[in-house]
Symmetry: C2
């Protein structure tokens, strides 16, 4: 059993999104990404089995999907996507998200 | 790809914690538990492989561990535990948590 606090462990950078590895095991990988307004995790996909969730902890922006599709992203949203499906996120305000990938990439 | 908003989908109840199934797949199960102050997920474990994470989205309380151990639980905390290890949580204020279990129980 281990506990970490995302607010203590990860901040923001004007240069690019800040990536923090929370946990990695044979079962899942957990990452925290913090974005300043305008920063993004560009749309991407990997041709492997599995799914991921993106939970918006704070702030707002847009989830990015295939063919230029977007969906509003706001606090309390949970997006679930196949790893093989194009996904990304763009920050409209300072934005904290938690990403869980199973099985881990 | 699907998106749900926890604040829209799940509220609080004076009777007991409110449980909302966000997602269930062969890869992971995602649940949202909302607790009024004083409510709890009693300490428990299952003798199977796998791990779970408990992320505190809002509010505070205590994580519960083996032999009466407790750890403060506050916004931004992520607890990771083996499913086979005793774990639980008690709310000190109204408390929203997200639980991810991999592989799903």
């Amino acid at each position: 059993m281990k506990k970490i606090n995302l607010y203590e462990e990860n901040g923001f950078s004007e240069k690019s999104m800040k990536n923090f590895l929370v946990h990695d095991s044979p079962y899942f990988k957990i990452l925290n990404f913090n974005f300043k307004a305008g920063q993004e995790l560009p749309i991407h996909s990997h041709d492997i089995d599995g799914q991921l969730s993106i939970t918006v902890l704070e702030g707002e922006g847009e989830f990015l999907g295939a063919d230029g599709a977007t969906m509003p992203a706001r606090q309390g949203d949970v997006l679930v996507s196949d790893i093989a499906e194009p996904h990304g996120i763009r920050a409209g305000t300072d934005l904290r998200v938690l990403v869980t990938i199973a099985p881990p990439i």
